[in-house]
């Protein structure tokens, strides 16, 4: 029947697209296990093209042991910066979001508008003065430059405002009656209800920082303080660098993130959906 044919066609199309989506990643991981000679050896269609013949971990050893390009160091740098920004960002943004969502105070609308208006300011415009500001503060080549300007995230504040507005005001007032201060109410009553939202925001912040490229490229020139994405791009400008090493570097910096995503994808996808539907 016609309908069966349709299902078959659809399934074939879906599998084909899945192959396109996954192939570059598969190829990256496979190449990272190849020896230097092997990568350039097979230039015709053959099974060897899709699977290493002699599996090797040499590429991984090389990138971690090379003292001029200490890859482990780059990973630790990035991890440190991303974790720090995520932790500070969650606190600062959640506090602001709570005030906007639940508290009553003069000039709330005006302040909210000011926060909102920052969303139209493009990064390209403020990048140059931000760099000059870092220079004036002597923050160039420090992690402070990577962390402090990245903490506040207005999009994150708005996402949390949506979540916090569902918290009934009565609970807050009840907390007040019991003599709890606002900080306590925020920490003990409001935050626990927003754990999924905080996870979502946390993942998005962390991934943004893990992927961060342009800003570190501009403010970090010292080899030892570089972050992972910029380090990978600088690998390619080296002469005679083996593709296997580049692929080992990209694999080791993306596969853990991919695995993490598989476990937490519900939260991540939810964050995107919210930005799309309410935006």
């Amino acid at each position: 029947m016609n309908k069966n044919l349709l299902v078959i066609v659809r399934t074939v199309v879906m599998i084909a697209i899945a192959v396109v989506a996954l192939f570059p990643i598969y190829w990256m991981v496979m190449s990272s296990f190849r020896t230097h000679e092997e990568i350039f050896k097979y230039t015709t269609l053959s099974p060897e093209l899709f699977m290493p013949v002699r599996w090797t971990l040499q590429n991984y050893k090389d990138i971690f042991l090379d003292p001029s390009k200490p890859f482990g160091r780059y990973m630790l740098n990035t991890l440190f910066v991303a974790a720090f920004v995520t932790a500070c960002g969650l606190v600062v943004n959640a506090m602001a979001a709570f005030a906007f969502a639940k508290l009553r105070f003069p000039f709330k609308k005006l302040l909210l508008t000011i926060f909102m208006s920052s969303l139209v300011i493009p990064y390209e415009v403020i990048m140059i003065p931000q760099y000059l500001l870092m220079r004036d503060l002597s923050w160039i080549n420090t992690f402070t430059a990577l962390i402090v300007p990245q903490i506040v995230w207005v999009f994150g504040i708005f996402m949390l405002v949506q979540f916090f507005s569902d918290v009934p005001r009565d609970i807050l007032d009840a907390g007040r009656m019991d003599g709890a201060g606002w900080l306590r109410i925020f920490g003990k009553i409001v935050l626990p209800t927003a754990v999924p939202a905080m996870i979502t925001l946390g993942i998005m912040t962390f991934l943004n920082q893990w992927d961060s490229f342009l800003w570190p490229l501009v403010v970090i020139n010292e080899e030892k303080k570089q972050v992972i994405q910029v380090a990978i791009s600088s690998f390619q400008s080296l002469r005679n660098i083996s593709w296997g090493k580049i692929m080992a570097a990209t694999s080791i910096s993306s596969v853990p993130v991919l695995v993490l995503f598989l476990f937490l994808q519900r939260y991540y996808v939810q964050g995107i959906t919210m930005s799309g539907v309410k935006g």
């Binding site: 989506a21 140059i128 390619q236």
Partner: protein, 297 residues
């Protein structure tokens, strides 16, 4: 709830609110608003990092931009890129969303797989594709030659180098847009489709008469976001071609980056950034007007 008078605000509550907002506000003022203001000032100056002298230049930077061929070319490349990516990527993503919208066995697997490229960072995706595109040893050309086609020199032929970058960007972004479309599709009530089915509408009619009109808000969001992101394309350019060959892939942000941090000409770069900003803003406003929706459901 009735409007509270100024005096009726709880003093303690107001104070708490300001304290809660203060850290975010301070960071915002220092790292977003102040730089924005300073960018405007710098754009009116001859601000060169090497000579560390800055002289007031009035509108000179802006006037110079209008006759700068490199800037013009970079603008054109950004627009060309966007004009291709916007329709192609939107269509592919909508197609993907429609494919995985219905619930059937294994649909979750496909959704996850289509989304995976989004999680790969732009720098890494660009690196992978740069090697995949390699003329002699790249997998893509090996496959093309293997099935009897001509190899394509994706990144070093000025005529098609932009296409290499376009493919890479669509590969990475399609899953992201798919998720947004999926959310939009799920907001359309199933009863509408059932009613149309009863009235004898075929699947194509249902798509054009129900799905597309009711997807207008989602579509507006996708179009505006895609346009903004596409116009600002930078990372893949920087990594795969550095604007070459022969400047054929230099986009506006790449031009700004080169001018500011390679030639150290901050004033000129800031002026270019501002000009570009107003252009993007104008385009977004026009798009918002076009998409202003009156469909309710």
């Amino acid at each position: 709830m009735k409007r509270l008078k100024f005096a009726a605000y709880d003093k303690q509550e107001s104070r708490a609110a300001y304290l809660f907002i203060f850290p975010a506000f301070l960071l915002l003022a220092l790292f977003i608003f102040y730089p924005m203001f300073r960018a405007l000032l710098i754009s009116f100056q001859n601000y060169n990092l090497i000579s560390t002298r800055s002289a007031f230049a009035g509108l000179d930077n802006y006037a110079k931009l209008f006759t700068d061929r490199d800037f013009g070319a970079s603008l054109w490349h950004s627009f060309y890129f966007t004009l291709v990516v916007l329709p192609v990527q939107t269509a592919i993503s909508l197609g993907l969303a429609l494919l995985v919208q219905r619930k059937f066995r294994g649909v979750g697997f496909f959704r996850t797989v289509y989304f995976i490229p989004v999680v790969v960072s732009f720098a890494i995706a660009s690196t992978i594709f740069k090697l995949l595109y390699n003329k002699d040893y790249g997998m893509l050309n090996v496959i093309l030659k293997g099935i009897g086609l001509q190899g394509v020199d994706f990144l070093s032929n000025p005529d098609i180098s932009m296409w290499g970058i376009i493919i890479l960007c669509i590969w990475r972004a399609m899953g992201f847009v798919m998720i947004i479309f999926l959310a939009g599709l799920n907001n359309i009530p199933e009863s509408l489709y059932e009613a149309a089915h009863v009235d004898g509408a075929n699947p194509l009619q249902r798509f054009y008469l129900i799905t597309i009109p009711l997807l207008k808000r989602t579509m507006a969001f996708v179009v505006i976001i895609t346009t903004m992101d596409a116009l600002k394309i930078f990372i893949p350019i920087y990594i795969t071609t550095s604007g070459g060959p022969a400047g054929s892939t230099s986009t506006v942000v790449h031009f700004i980056y080169e001018t500011a941090f390679k030639q150290m000409n901050m004033g000129y770069a800031a002026a270019a950034a501002f000009l570009f900003f107003f252009l993007v803003l104008a385009i977004s406003v026009v798009q918002l007007r076009i998409f202003r929706t009156d469909v309710e459901y």
